[in-house]
Symmetry: C2
Subunit: 199 residues, 2 copies
DNA sequence: GTCTATAGAGCGATAGAC
DNA sequence: GTCTATCGCTCTATAGAC
C-alpha cells in the first residue's frame, strides 16, 4: 500500500512537506513537480487534480493516526491508565509525523465539501473516543472536570500544539516531551500524575 | 485610531473575515473588494499591497490581545491567582475576537520575513509572561510541572483551540466555557481549582 | 508514464480619467 | 478616493507526441 508506486509516493512526500510549510493554497502544482523532479503535467498521471492530493494525504494519514492511537488502549484499564495510553501514543505519533498531523489539523478549510465531511467524521469519532474515557473517569470521580466535551477538545488542542514547535533535531528528547504532555493532560482533568521512575 | 477612516476599516473587516475562513492565500484582492462594495484597484488607495493588509491585522490585533491580557494581571497576587487571571482574560478575549486570534495563530507562515519576526517576538514575549507565572509557582511548589516552557506552550495551544469550535451563537454561554478552560489550565499545572460559587 | 506546449482563467498591481 | 481598463504573470488542467 505504501510502496505501491514510486512516483506517486514521491508526489505524496513532496506535497506533504510543501503543504505543511506553506499551506495548500500557498503551493502550486509546478512546485510539487519541481520537488519530485518531474514536469507539472505529469502529476496528472497519478492524481486527477490538486485537491485529490490533499484529500489523499488527509484521509489516509488521519485514519492511520487515529487507528494507531486507539489500538494502544486496553478497555480493561482504568480511565486514568487509558487516558495515559491515549496521550502517550497520540503525542508520540504527532512527533513522528509532524507534517501529516499539522496538515490534517490546518487544512480542513481547504477541503471541498465532500472531503471535509469525511475528515470531520473521522475527527469526531476520535474525539468521542477520548470523551468516552473522560466520561468514565468523571463518573467514578477520579477525574475532576465540569464538561467532558470541552476537556476533550482542550486536550486535543494541547497535544496538537506539539507539531508547531517540536523538531526531532532539537535539544529535547522525544521521551521527555511525551512525558511532559502526559503530565499536563492527566493533571488537566484532575488526575494525579506519577513520573515513570526515579533515576 | 480604530475609526480613523471608514473604507480602510471596512477593508480590515472584510479581510479579517475572509482570511479567517479561507486563509490568506485562499483570498483574492477582488474578493475583498467585492465584500467592501468597491472596485479591486481602489484597495490600493488604503494599503500598498495585499501583504500589508495581513501585517496590519496581525500586528495590531496580536498587540492589543496581549496588552489586554497582561493588563489584568496584578503582580501582588499568588502564582495560582495570576494564572487564573491570565487564562480567564485570554479565553474571554479569544471568544470575543475569534477571527483575529485565529488569523494571528494560523497565518504566521503567510507573512514575509520582516513581519514574521515582528509577530514572533510579540508572541515570545507573551509566552514568556506566562512562563514567568509558571516558574514562580514551580519554585514555591504550588504548581507541579516538570518543564515550565512546555507547560506554557501547552496551555497556549489549549486555550487557542477555543477559536476553532466556539461560536457566540452556539448553545453554551461564554462564562461557562471560560470557567471550563480555567479549570483545565489550572489543573494542568497541578494547581487546585475552586468553582466560583455554588448556585 | 513522461515529455512539450498551451489553453483559459484568475491573480496582484498600476495608469490615468474624473 | 473611486472608477475603468489593462498589463504581465502565474495558476490548474489538458492535448498530443514519444
Amino acid at each position: 500500500m505504501t510502496g505501491e508506486h514510486n512516483t506517486k509516493n514521491l508526489i505524496r512526500g513532496a506535497a506533504r512537506r510543501l503543504f505543511a510549510e506553506h499551506g495548500y493554497n500557498g503551493v502550486s502544482m509546478r512546485e510539487i513537480a519541481q520537488h519530485v523532479g518531474k514536469q507539472p503535467g505529469g502529476i496528472y498521471n497519478h492524481f486527477p487534480n490538486k485537491q485529490a492530493i490533499l484529500v489523499d494525504l488527509m484521509q489516509e494519514n488521519l485514519r492511520r493516526a487515529h487507528e494507531a492511537v486507539i489500538a494502544t488502549i486496553d478497555d480493561r484499564l482504568s480511565p486514568a491508565e487509558r487516558l495515559e495510553c491515549f496521550v502517550r501514543s497520540h503525542v508520540l505519533h504527532n512527533i513522528e509525523n509532524p507534517d501529516d498531523i499539522f496538515i490534517a489539523y490546518m487544512e480542513l478549510r481547504s477541503l471541498e465539501p465532500e472531503g471535509a465531511t469525511h475528515v470531520s467524521k473521522e475527527r469526531n469519532g476520535y474525539e468521542a473516543a477520548l470523551r468516552a474515557i473522560l466520561d468514565d473517569g468523571a463518573k467514578s470521580s477520579v477525574f475532576k472536570l465540569s464538561d467532558p466535551a470541552i476537556h476533550a477538545r482542550s486536550i486535543l488542542s494541547m497535544l496538537g500544539g506539539v507539531t508547531v514547535w517540536f523538531r526531532q533535531s532539537g535539544p529535547q528528547s522525544s521521551a521527555d516531551v511525551v512525558e511532559c504532555y502526559v503530565q499536563a493532560a492527566l493533571q488537566s482533568v484532575g488526575a494525579p500524575y506519577y513520573p515513570p521512575i526515579e533515576r
